[in-house]
Amino acid sequence: MRQATTATMDRHTIIEQIPGLRRYARALTGDAWAADDLVQDTLERACSQWHRWRAGSDLRAWLFTLMHNLFANQARSLSRRAGSGVQVDPDEVAGELRAPDAASDLALDLQRCLLRLPVEQRAVLLLVSMEDLSYEEVASVLAIPVGTVMSRLSRARSRLRELLDAPAGDLAARPAAIGAPMLRRLK
């Protein structure tokens, strides 16, 4: 852990957090533009709330918390606007058209499947797997009990496994959605 370097907030320690924030935001939103916008929003929010950050506490965790709150709000208003949860954000489309970059098919598949997880599950899964936060850290970032972290993690992993195992055509036929409702698991 980089506790020592994240206990202060100067330009250098903030800059250090940005690559990780960008990657997490990218996986969370599935879109390059939206992700960088989210990171920027997060930094702006931090600007207006820096006095709430306790010096010496983990800067990274705090920034993740701000980002999560912003994203949850966005996702809520998006799904309200779009009704069925289908995204119509022009930024999204622009990102899809512009950025096939170097991502392999596997990564594209994984990203597509990730977007089919409910936001809460996606966040837990990414914070645990991609960012390597402890369950306690995730609980504090998302302001939920550790028990909830565990149940979301469990649901996210099993759901993602189903999605990744599903025939590709099955997935491609359905639009990716930020707030897609979770399919009921067969008992």
């Binding site: 330009r11 690559p19 960008r22 960088d36 600007c47 820096w50 970059d101 797997s129 496994r161």
Partner: protein, 281 residues
């Protein structure tokens, strides 16, 4: 592996390895004694082994996802945001640090420009003194620094190109906290190159860049002026011209927003552009 497919019910790790333990084991979060206990039970539980194997490859795939992003250079807009955060924390105005040497270098010229600048205002043919000179000078100075830094830039003159004009407008409108319009100067021979976000002393600034087919560039710099302590800063002003520096320009204030149009052009040409901008905003 003759076990039935576990896809439909991956939670069914029958002989009872608790689900939480399975995840904690996978994520390396179990104390050693518990880890060994799970090891032992996994040895006798092919279904759980399958599940764990699937989750493990999932975890590895997630750790690899978008990894190249970690090594990408940080976009200037995010660097600027980080700088603003550091500044708001430190309460020291270090905005000029951003841009480093280039901005510092430009400052030398700009300071010269301002100290020798002839401040005049033109409206309807008559000359009046420009109001709110203090804030205006700071604003114009920042606009000129931004122009001097970015106008000669060959590869990255803007952050968001004109091709993504819609995104550019949405983005900068959000940053500057008011719906923006990008003035169309094509009637005067200037096409939009794009725009970027910059830090200013009283908040975010946008810079739009235009150029002629011959590569002549002008920049429009804008942003909200802080009216708190100095209400006169927000008052509307006439066009103010400064023409003796390396980058002549016009400056004006309209509805709490400052605007500076700069370019190496004649005063008449600049005025014409400034008026075209003013009429469209």
């Amino acid at each position: 592996m003759t076990e039935p497919d576990t896809v439909m019910d991956p939670h069914d790790t029958r002989p009872g390895i608790p689900d939480d333990d399975l995840h904690a084991w996978l994520d390396g979060r179990l104390p050693e004694d518990q880890r060994h206990a799970v090891d032992d039970r996994l040895a006798h539980d092919p279904a759980a082994r399958d599940t764990v194997a699937a989750y493990r490859s999932q975890r590895e795939a997630l750790r690899a996802l978008h990894r190249p992003l970690l090594d990408e250079p940080i976009p200037p807009a995010l660097q600027a945001a980080a700088q603003r955060l550091a500044d708001s924390r430190g309460r020291t105005s270090q905005w000029w640090r951003w841009g480093g040497m280039a901005a510092g270098f430009a400052l030398v010229f700009v300071t010269g420009w301002l100290s020798h600048g002839q401040w005049q205002a033109v409206r309807g043919g008559e000359t009046i003194a420009a109001r709110s000179r203090g804030t205006g000078q700071e604003f114009v100075r920042q606009a000129a620094v931004a122009h001097a830094v970015y106008a000669p830039e060959v590869r990255h003159p803007v952050e968001v190109a004109a091709a993504q004009q819609e995104h550019l407008i949405q983005w900068l409108s959000k940053r500057l906290g008011r719906p923006l319009k990008v003035p169309d100067l094509s009637g005067l021979g200037y096409e939009l190159v794009g725009g970027r976000l910059l830090p200013g002393d009283t908040g975010a600034r946008a810079q739009f860049m235009y150029q002629t087919p011959g590569g002549e560039r002008v920049t429009l710099y804008l942003g909200a002026l802080d009216g708190g302590a100095d209400a006169t800063a927000r008052q509307e002003t006439a066009f103010s011209f400064s023409g003796t520096g390396p980058v002549p320009g016009f400056y004006w204030v309209d509805q709490g927003f400052g605007y500076a149009l700069a370019g190496k052009l004649s005063r008449e040409a600049l005025l014409q552009l400034a008026q075209a901008v003013y009429q469209q905003l």
